[in-house]
């Protein structure tokens, strides 16, 4: 009799692993959003020297559950001027691709919805579909703030998709596979990909912050400028689905991609002995990146739209192209060893980080000269 993983009959294991994967996905999407909102509020409170939620439950742990109950019990309000079907369809269009992308996230050795051989391509594809829902939401709301938010979002997401995908491609070049499982397997032991390819990781993480509408790139829903951007007209559970579930779900997906591609996915001490331990390692790593994203949110101010675009098109995309050129050349020149790629990638990181203050200083100098020349009291926006 053939024995599958964990000594279970494969005939039982095949449906069982699906159930576990779907259960984990739903658990992480629904409860993960609640937990992440709580963490977000608590962490920002700590950084800003406040208390944060502390009334409901111990340490305010039940606060977001209470908020969710409030959202569910709210009346379904819709402005008369909104565009019927589109307005209703938009939250679904944002939510469905996010939920579908959980199919290929490898939680542990054999705990994955399906091992697609184009897993990474599938994830980027679904990530690019979110934009459609956001644009439709902005359009259907028939509200100028929502429309502006939707347009900003379309421009931002389409632009930042390019460096994001280019950064992923360099990892695929080194690993030689698009399957999330194979990518994880290739990083057994302490030598994870981030030590070999830190530069694409940097590019991906910055672009991912923009793709998930996180500060400092949260222009589509800039509260101080656009009320709530494309979410302005939504309330109740539609708002909850769009903002809480989809946004935090996307954050989790992006962090899971980072974990899988650069930090060894489920691999960690003791995984070979107890495969289920992989779920713990995977979740811990994913939440570590979510915490970093929240830390960034509490630290950095929001960019202006022209700064956002010029940073992407003049900074990130050239950097990503240089990175892919270097990685591809070195992978072709040294097919057996990864050391030259690692050295080149670290050099690029140093150049990128050291180059930012230099470019910034030059920009400031140009700005000041221009302000003096025009003798205008207000400093015009530099492109």
């Amino acid at each position: 009799m053939p024995v599958g993983p964990f000594g279970i009959d494969p005939l039982i294991w095949a449906p069982l692993r699906l159930i576990i994967a779907v259960g984990l996905a739903l658990f992480l999407v629904l409860n993960g959003a609640l937990l992440q909102i709580y963490l977000e509020r608590k962490i920002q409170a700590i950084i800003q020297d406040r208390l944060g939620p502390y009334h409901v439950g111990p340490f305010g742990l039940l606060q977001t559950f209470a908020d969710a109950l409030k959202l569910i019990s709210k009346e379904d309000v819709r402005a008369a001027a909104t565009d019927g079907w589109f307005f209703v369809a938009a939250p679904a269009l944002v939510f469905c691709p996010m939920l579908a992308s959980w199919v290929v996230l490898p939680f542990a050795q054999d705990i994955v919805g399906t091992n697609l051989n184009i897993g990474l391509l599938y994830l980027t594809t679904l990530g690019s579909m979110t934009v459609l829902g956001i644009v439709i939401a902005g359009w259907a709301s028939n509200n100028k703030y929502a429309l502006m938010g939707g347009l900003r979002s379309a421009g931002q997401l389409i632009s930042y998709e390019i460096p994001q995908i280019l950064a992923l491609v360099s990892v695929v070049l080194v690993v030689g596979s698009l399957s999330m499982i194979d990518i994880t397997r290739s990083q057994a032991g302490p030598l994870v990909n981030v030590l070999i390819l830190p530069f694409p990781f940097l590019i991906y993480f910055i672009a991912a912050l923009a793709e998930t509408n996180r500060t400092p790139f949260d222009l589509p829903e800039a509260e101080s400028e656009l009320v709530a951007g494309w979410l302005t007209e939504y309330s109740g559970m539609r708002w909850g689905t769009m903002l809480a579930l989809s946004e935090y779900g996307n954050v989790t997906v992006v962090c899971a991609i980072v974990t899988t591609l650069w930090f060894g996915g489920w691999q960690g001490p003791g995984v070979d002995a107890i495969p289920l331990l992989g779920v713990l390692w995977f979740t811990l790593k994913v939440y570590a990146f979510i915490l970093i994203m929240m830390w960034i949110r509490a630290t950095l101010p929001r960019l202006r739209i022209d700064q956002l675009m010029s940073f992407c098109w003049k900074g990130l995309i050239p950097a990503a192209l240089v990175n892919i050129l270097v990685v591809a050349t070195l992978a072709l020149a040294f097919p057996t060893t990864k050391i030259p790629i690692a050295i080149a990638s670290w050099v690029l990181v140093v150049l990128f980080v050291a180059g930012i203050p230099f470019v910034q200083r030059r920009r400031l100098r140009v700005l000041r000269a221009r302000a003096r020349a025009s003798a205008a009291p207000a400093v015009r926006a530099v492109s």
Binding site: L121, M129, V131, L132, V135, L151, I158, E161
Partner: protein, 175 residues
């Protein structure tokens, strides 16, 4: 118990999706609805690719057509000034001519395709490395020609939409 009946059913649903979606894109007068239905048509076609075993092509179909092109079309629609005629028929004003063309093209194509006797496509086209190798070796020249065409289109779009704004020119001179 076999599941052989699933594939034709899925194919029929997808085919209905493609044809109905495409017809609605042309016939609807609401341009945003047409754009959204175009995305739906592209998604159905991606489903057809999956059915044929070409998952890679399906993924690229969704990535490029749904994720980028439809969004760019919506972007263009929202930036176009059409508040005075939000439901005007922009493109479909040549119905008789269109009917003649469709009949002239569709009937020979249909006759030709029904007399097709090649073997049905084999599944297993999801191999990305084989696809990439053929694109960058055997079909490198068409690939490059296509990118030059896109570049020319982009330059043309920039030239066509570049305005001679006197205020902007004055500001640039001040700099």
């Amino acid at each position: 118990m076999t599941f052989d009946f699933v594939e034709p059913v899925v194919f029929a649903l997808l085919a209905i999706g493609v044809i109905a979606g495409g017809a609605a894109v042309v016939l609807l007068s609401r341009i945003t609805a047409a754009a959204l239905l175009m995305a739906f048509t592209f998604l159905s076609m991606a489903g057809m690719f999956v059915l044929l075993g070409a998952e890679t092509l399906a993924a690229f179909q969704v990535l490029i057509y749904v994720g980028a092109i439809t969004v760019l079309i919506l972007y263009g629609v929202m930036f176009t000034k059409f508040s005075d005629r939000p439901r005007a028929l922009f493109f479909q004003r040549q119905t008789p001519l269109a009917v003649v063309f469709v009949v002239a093209v569709a009937i020979p194509v249909a006759l030709f395709s029904f007399s097709f006797t090649s073997a049905p496509p084999r599944p297993g086209g999801g191999d990305l490395s084989a696809l990439a190798t053929s694109v960058f070796t055997d079909f490198a020249f068409p690939f490059e020609i296509a990118s030059v065409l896109l570049l020319a289109a982009m330059v043309g779009a920039i030239v066509l939409t570049g305005r001679d704004d006197p205020e902007e020119a004055a500001r640039r001179r001040r700099r």
